[in-house]
């Protein structure tokens, strides 16, 4: 019974780890940072603010690109959230697998 449990846990751990890698790779394709709107006297201007190494960069966002960037940031946030979920799952699975292996070693 224990070996079946360990095999299920290992299989699940492998799946979670693989998915985590795939998500991280996906994340790279999305823009980093946050959208900031600044008042420039008579009009508002949008910028994408992000960190590159030690520097904080500010890129101008054209009006026509605004919606698209908003959507991309929303997708990125969603993926980042899912990575967190997978990391928690990974921790739990590793813990369960360790406990299961210890039980076998004690016998």
């Amino acid at each position: 019974m224990n070996s079946i449990l360990r095999s299920v846990l290992s299989e699940e751990l492998e799946r979670v780890s693989k998915n985590r890698q795939v998500y991280k790779k996906k994340l790279e394709a999305f823009p980093y940072g946050a959208l900031v709107t600044k008042n420039r006297g008579s009009h508002f201007v949008n910028y994408l603010v992000y960190r590159k190494g030690a520097k904080v960069k500010t890129d101008y966002v054209r009006k026509g690109d605004l919606e698209r960037i908003k959507m991309l940031i929303s997708k990125r946030e969603n993926i980042a959230e899912q990575i967190k979920v997978l990391e928690e799952q990974k921790k739990d699975l590793e813990k369960s697998l360790k406990e299961s292996n210890m039980k076998v070693a004690k016998r």
């Binding site: 699940e12 998915n19 795939v22 959507m71 991309l72 929303s74 997708k75 969603n78 959230e81 899912q82």
Partner: protein
Amino acid sequence: MIQNFKEVLEILDKTGGNKYVVLIGSWAEYLYEECNVISGFISNIKTKDIDFLIENINKPRNEIDIIKAFREHNFEIEMAANEIYRIIKGDFEVEFLAAMIGGVYSYIKVPAFKLPHVEALTHIDMLLIDPVEINYSDIEIRVPNPYIYILHKMVINKRRKEKKEKDARAIANLLIHLDNIADEDRLMYYYNKLSKKEKRLIVEYVTDNNLVGYFPRLK
């Protein structure tokens, strides 16, 4: 587990029943991965239930004795008080489902499969829109198209109780792999085919779960 799944498909294939059902649930996700329906997709954990949605309770015209076929392959057959058969092997269970007709009866007779009752569910008929036909281990089987599969999970999410979170993870996992403009178009194409109520439930789900990035044209 996979062996049991293959055996179930083989039994259906032998009876010809595979042509009249659509495989739904987590095993459909498994086939999205295994048969590369969604490139790079890794499915969530598979459950011990294999669910099939019966497309038309009166087809095929030549009845298939599905219970007899499973019994011949040493599946345990039990009948619950509501006259729904349970088809079991070890801790594996095969279930047949159908669409609710008229929103009244939660069980329905399936003459084509000689089943006195199967569970009938609302909104499940969505999964019959443009199913994908795939070949798995030389067996032809249909699975819901992934876009409809996602939308259906969103529609039923509120009634899923303890399965809510698992479903939410499945939706997120699928959407992450279907994130280009062509996929957005397909999602909208199938969204537009749905009823007002289904559309409202999807909008609620998308808003509550911050998934607007995948549905930029949703109103």
